[in-house]
Amino acid sequence: MPPTLNPIDLVSRINRDVERSLLRARNGVRYVRGTHAPQVGATPKEVVWKRGKAELWRYRNDAVRFGPPVLIVHSLVSRSYILDLRPGNSLIEYLTNAGLDVFLLDWGVADELDADNDLARYVDFYIPRAVAAVKRESGADEITLVGYCLGGVLTALYAAGYEAAPVRNLILMATPIDFDQMGAMVAFLREGRLNAEELVDDTGNVPADVLYSGFYMQAPTTEIAQKATLLDNLWNDEFVEGFQAMGQWSRDHVPFPGALFRELVEELVRKNVLMTGAIRVGERKIELANARGNVLNAMAERDNVVPPAAVEPVMNLIGDPARREELRLPGGHVTFGTGRSAVKHTMPRLTGWIIEHSDELPAAKES
């Protein structure tokens, strides 16, 4: 808007600028000191099952209108609160407000006790027990199973590996299948470069800072533009809180279990075995086509971490061809699940699909 010489407008603009300067100073001091960090993962929940570091959380909902319950299995690479970052920017909150009974399987922070956890440990131990706990807590016979990124690989293998898996709907969000299309994220681990063992530390796990470096190097200069944008918006409390929350999550990486890392490098990165349609997990071979339920393959169109080309093969490999659907959403690997684009596109479309493939319960039940 061009500047105006109207005295009232001028006074108003001066007042606004003075107020913003004061807010900038206050928020700037808070940001530098690290005080007033926003609360993340705030949607009320309780732990309904626990095994080792793994916890199953049930989100409080006094108005569950649809069944079956939704179980979200997060990736092991990052913290799960990205799906519940802040009020008004939370997939969990959105699903809960829509009348769904929502559970999340959180993996905690791996340490030396988790170093031997391999694919079978997650697919054949943790996930079946978590699913049983969801059925027990909710009284439901089936579930809607959602997997994000590596969580999608684990849930797909569970749904395909158990004939009696009570999966009505399987939603895979940004789930890598074709690792030849994964680009820079796995390039260091290809044959002739680093072996998995070289990245594992004396706890038996891949350290969190190795994973952080891997993500950071995808776009090493963007922090400059982000900090400049923060400076311009330092007067805006909501912007600053959102920025801090996102910054906290992006730095909050966790160690990755060594045994699983070795298995993923050898089988998925180097042999690209998922593209054959089958993979050995523990003592048995799992055929991906056997995955139970309706399959929704959700991907982010500008995902540089798990590009669409790595995700698209779900449509040829996982589950019953007649029950597969694809959903392309705007955003990147993280921003398609959280942020303005997610609130506008991902959350309503994902929720709408789940409700379309769920049943309306006879009456709103207390949970």
């Binding site: 030396e112 260091f188 070289e198 190097m217 200069t221 533009a225």
Partner: protein, 93 residues
Amino acid sequence: MSAKPLWLRAVIRLERAVGEPVEAAVRTDTYFDLMSKATRTTASAKRKVAGTSTRALHLLNLPAGTDVKRMREQLSRMERRINQLSERVEELD
């Protein structure tokens, strides 16, 4: 949100001018090969330094960092094994 001020647009433009070639460079096979070699070289150098300090400490009959690391690894293996056995007992119950 109002339009970005001139200075911010300039910063973003500059960041992209530098960032795009950097991002392209860190996606090349040359970069991946170089970084893999650098990681191995660093690890090898650390092992040599650790080896020298270990020998020096052992001469004085003192434990070295590698001894502590080995013990920690053994304790972790034992703890994992105990965990597995506890789980099996729990499953039987």
